[in-house]
């Protein structure tokens, strides 16, 4: 390519190609994302705050004084904290040993540990709760009937409608938070830290206490706090188990305030108290997690040593088998059995039927509508959340826009909002607007996108961080415009991450109950709400069938995620120098 083959077509164009316009596509896209975030999250929160001070005549603190002193509310607060504390504690007691066993010992059947944690995490807690009531409701529960009336061992009966029952159902869902954070921390501790202690004369046990434990403690504590935050936010299990047992918690108390006549000010004030607890816990959690950063900095990460457990490893295996049985096999076997039985009871296996599935899928228009609504909502909400996440992540990482950090923080606010609180905020905001959104699919969509926008931002952020800025810059210097660079370079490179994020939003939206329960109408009913309502009205067997359909949709989405995500992650791109 010497000078003589230089063609005139390739001369540089130092002059602008087209007149500069003040409004470019990138500005429209960025502006759109910012405005959406404000409408979805910031304004509803502002109206929640305003609403909590609204009295019959002007501004007042009445709602707060009622919420902080009234017996009903203090009781709910106490129950929520108690439930959170117990759930955190038991999550720690189950999650940490399992994580340690997998990461640091020669325990057999490690995949079983992983599967137990993953499935427990993915199981919607309100479905597990329903499943367990089939077995352990005090009078009709199958297991209780069996123990009391058939085997004559009444001391083996268990009443699920109690605080221990509620904690049991909750912990099944929350122990994976401790497990996942603890095992990733344990795995990322560089073995050379421990080897360095040992060469200096420390025994294995001393090394574990003096070196490993302090390194992973922040991650473990942060996992425990996440378990706490998630435990107190679960509306479904607290309504299904708590209400019959007269254990009222914050979400169920807020829910009750919407019985006619709705008490908006009280609900708002109680919601803000709820937010305060959640945010405080998340703040602590974040502070702990920041302290573990030195673990991940460890770099090359040689393989950690595996402790020889001897006979004790069979004990651990037995423990995980029990957890697997109680949190996976028992609820799902029960749901399957109930869904196929004509009438649930000791002799259910004598009349197996498909009638329940036929009923919810083909005969009952409420459940049909609910399934369709949920599928459409999950599809649209996941797409919007991920697209907004991509733009917000891009603004944060790739532009110098003033206030971009603020934008990033704003997009994380929903993490501190329990679902039901999000619903209260949306109701307060949209009731004040001239648009009649209440009870429509749109308000549900707004709730879902708003709730799960942090997942979209996080997925986009993580994938964008993997794409070195120079990959975009090199397209730019070759003459590519912003749009071309996005289309040709950035989007193709972050697509696998965005798709994973899409499924991360899709799965929880399909099973969303906490916010939907306040926002739905008979036309906009969703899958989870339909399950809850059928359960409440006593349709025992069809509920199980609908629950199974719910699980099948989730299962299909996850299977898809593994299939597609797995392929794109192991494809040709992974060894390329994208990380620098």
């Amino acid at each position: 390519m010497s000078t003589d083959v230089m063609s005139t077509t390739l001369r540089p164009r130092l002059a602008p190609r087209r007149p500069r316009t003040w409004l470019r596509l990138e500005h429209v896209v960025m502006g759109g994302a910012i405005i959406s975030l404000i409408v979805l999250v910031v304004l509803p929160l502002a109206f929640l705050l305003i609403g909590s001070f609204k009295g019959a005549d002007g501004v007042t603190l009445d709602a707060y004084s009622e919420v902080l002193t009234g017996r009903l509310y203090v009781n709910a607060l106490k129950n929520s904290l108690l439930l959170g504390a117990y759930s955190g504690l038991f999550s720690l007691l189950i999650g940490l040993p399992l994580a340690w066993a997998v990461a640091r010992t020669d325990v057999p059947a490690k995949p079983l540990f992983q599967i137990t944690a993953t499935l427990s995490y993915l199981s919607p807690p309100f479905l597990t709760a329903i499943a367990l009531t089939y077995l352990f409701s005090p009078n009709a529960g199958l297991s209780n009937v069996l123990m009391r009336d058939v085997l004559g061992m009444p001391w083996l009966t268990f009443n699920i409608f109690t605080m221990p029952g509620l904690v049991l159902v909750t912990v099944m869902h929350t122990f994976p938070f401790v497990y996942l954070l603890a095992s990733s921390a344990l795995q990322s501790v560089d073995a050379s830290y421990e080897e360095a202690a040992q060469i200096l004369g420390a025994s294995k046990l001393r090394t574990a206490f003096l070196i490993t434990a302090p390194l992973v403690a922040p991650a473990v504590l942060s996992g425990t706090l996440l378990a706490f935050v998630n435990a107190i936010a679960l509306f479904g299990s607290q309504a299904i188990i708590g209400l019959p047992g007269r254990i009222v918690t914050l979400p169920t108390r807020i829910y009750a305030l919407f019985d006619y006549p709705p008490e908006y000010a009280l609900a708002s004030a109680l919601s803000l108290v709820f937010i305060l607890i959640t945010v405080a816990a998340l703040y602590l959690q974040n502070a702990f997690l920041k302290r573990r950063s030195y673990v991940t900095l460890a770099g090359k990460g040689s393989r950690p040593q595996m402790m020889q457990l001897g006979v004790f490893r069979w004990v651990l295996l037995a423990c995980v088998t029990i957890v697997f049985f109680v949190s996976i096999v028992l609820p799902y076997a029960t749901l399957i059995a109930v869904s196929f039985s004509k009438s649930w009871g000791l002799e259910f296996w004598k009349n197996i039927t498909l009638a329940n599935y036929k009923f919810v899928l083909f005969e009952y228009n409420v459940t049909q509508r609910a399934i369709l609504n949920s599928l459409v909502l999950a599809f649209v909400a996941a797409t919007l959340a991920v697209l907004m996440g991509a733009v917000i992540g891009w603004i944060d990482l790739r532009t110098k826009l003033p206030g971009r950090k603020l934008l990033d923080y704003a997009s994380l606010i929903p993490l501190g909002l329990p679902g039901i609180v999000m619903a209260v905020a949306l109701i307060q905001f949209w009731l004040a607007m001239p648009l009649a959104l209440y009870g429509t699919l749109t308000i549900l969509l707004l709730a879902y996108v708003g709730r799960y926008i942090p997942l979209g931002v996080r997925a986009a952020n993580a994938s964008l961080r993997q794409v070195d800025h120079s990959l975009e810059e090199s397209a730019q210097i070759l003459g590519a415009s912003w749009t071309t660079t996005m289309r040709e370079i950035t989007l193709p490179l972050i697509r696998p991450g965005l798709f994973a994020g899409w499924l991360l939003v899709f799965v929880p939206v399909i099973q969303e109950l906490s916010a939907s329960i306040l926002l739905f109408s008979s036309q906009s009913i969703t899958l989870a709400v339909a399950v809850y309502n059928l359960y409440e009205t006593g349709y025992i067997e069809p509920v199980a069938a609908l629950a199974m359909i719910n699980m099948l949709i989730i299962g299909a989405a996850i299977w898809l995620a593994y299939r597609l995500g797995g392929r794109s992650l192991t494809s040709r791109n992974d060894a390329a120098p994208v990380h620098t």
Partner: protein, 368 residues
């Protein structure tokens, strides 16, 4: 072809509590068809300068012009995509989702070249960097050196007037680096493209450049040919950075014409050619390259006695540390066949024509 003139270029980045000047008052004239290197330790502002030339950053002060056309000034910056330059990044920035052909053809597609001639040009460019036949490979299937060549081909295929290279050889192993160095130089001569090259490796800079801008603390410390910056460093930072040097304190003894005599130890004085700025009695610092000192086992007239205190054999040269009776130790490089033992006495002789004298304690030009 194009020359670049950079005048008064400054850029600060705001850190947590203050503004840090990354580049301050940089003036560089790059001649057409030349190979210019920005050389300096990490954090010296060389990469910032390169990114200012590319248009990724807007300067706070100063201008960048190409053939008299202004490209960058605080008020207006022609964006990178309209500069028609090429750039090779330190990490190559080869797109992992595109194969070799797709990577290289990208710039031609942007320029809307018909696909037949684009294909021909890609083939030419790949031949130029010895990558013919690898069109359908993906970056992950290429070695570091091959990825490097793809990056080069991708930049060259659009026939830029100016090619910017940001430490392009730093991720390669020593042998390959050596070879790519030769190929880069040859490529520059053959294409006549103006190369602006950033590196922290002084050997690389000396081997490749027509002109070197030695940078430190955001400022250009010296701008000259490789010989000038090596043999006549403008200040002690440049002397120190351009290879090994003995920096020893001294005192001006006498002046004669432009030069004079400087005493660096009671028993050792050197006659220096250029001593303009200094008066007798002034304290100075003398930079003596290790290869400018000769060792002899037997007494030499005009030589000074010393003892060998340490010895390092490096293969192509031998390095000795000679300690004078007054305690001063000098690093000396000799022919590897000259054999002296540690503890042995010897005489040393300093070739004063290659010494530089600086004001004592005077640092380099600093960014404000």
């Amino acid at each position: 072809m194009a020359g670049i003139s950079i005048r008064g270029l400054s850029k600060s980045f705001s850190s947590r509590d203050s503004d840090v000047a990354a580049v301050a008052d940089v003036d560089i004239e790059v001649k057409d068809n030349s190979f210019v290197t920005l050389l300096g330790p990490s954090g010296c502002g060389k990469t910032t300068t390169l990114r200012l030339i590319a248009g990724y950053i807007t300067p706070d002060r100063g201008t960048i012009e190409i053939d008299g056309r202004p490209l960058s000034s605080p008020g207006s910056v022609v964006p990178p995509e309209r500069r028609g330059m090429g750039m090779v990044f330190q990490n190559y920035a080869i797109w992992p989702h595109k194969n070799v052909f797709e990577n290289v053809v990208f710039g031609l597609k942007i320029r809307k070249l018909p696909s037949a001639s684009a294909r021909r040009k890609v083939e030419e460019a790949l031949a130029l960097v010895n990558l013919s036949g690898l069109e359908t490979r993906y970056p992950s299937e290429l070695s570091g050196g091959q990825q490097q060549r793809v990056a080069l081909a991708r930049s060259l295929v659009v026939e830029p007037d100016i090619l910017l290279l940001d430490e392009p050889l730093s991720n390669l192993d020593a042998k390959l680096r050596e070879r790519m160095r030769l190929e880069l130089k040859e490529l520059q001569l053959r294409t006549g493209i103006t190369f602006v090259y950033v590196t922290h490796d002084q050997a690389e800079a000396l081997a490749l450049s027509d002109q070197i801008a030695v940078m430190n603390l955001g400022r250009v410390q010296q701008y000259g040919t490789p010989f000038e910056v090596y043999a006549h460093p403008a200040n002690r930072m440049v002397a120190d950075f351009m290879g090994l040097v003995n920096l020893v304190p001294g005192k001006v003894r006498e002046r004669s014409g432009a030069g004079g005599v400087v005493e660096i130890a009671p028993e050792l004085t050197v006659k220096v050619d250029a001593l303009d700025a200094f008066a007798p009695g002034e304290t100075v610092e003398v930079a003596i390259r290790p290869e400018s000192i000769r060792l002899a086992a037997s007494p030499v007239p005009g030589g000074t006695w010393a003892t060998i205190s340490n010895h390092v054999f490096l293969g192509n040269i031998s390095e000795y540390f000679a300690t004078l009776a007054s305690g001063l130790t000098l690093r000396v490089q000799t022919h590897p066949l000259q054999q002296l033992k540690v503890g042995e006495a010897c005489t040393i002789e300093v070739d004063a024509t290659h010494c530089s004298v600086f004001r004592a304690g005077a640092g380099e030009a600093k960014a404000a």
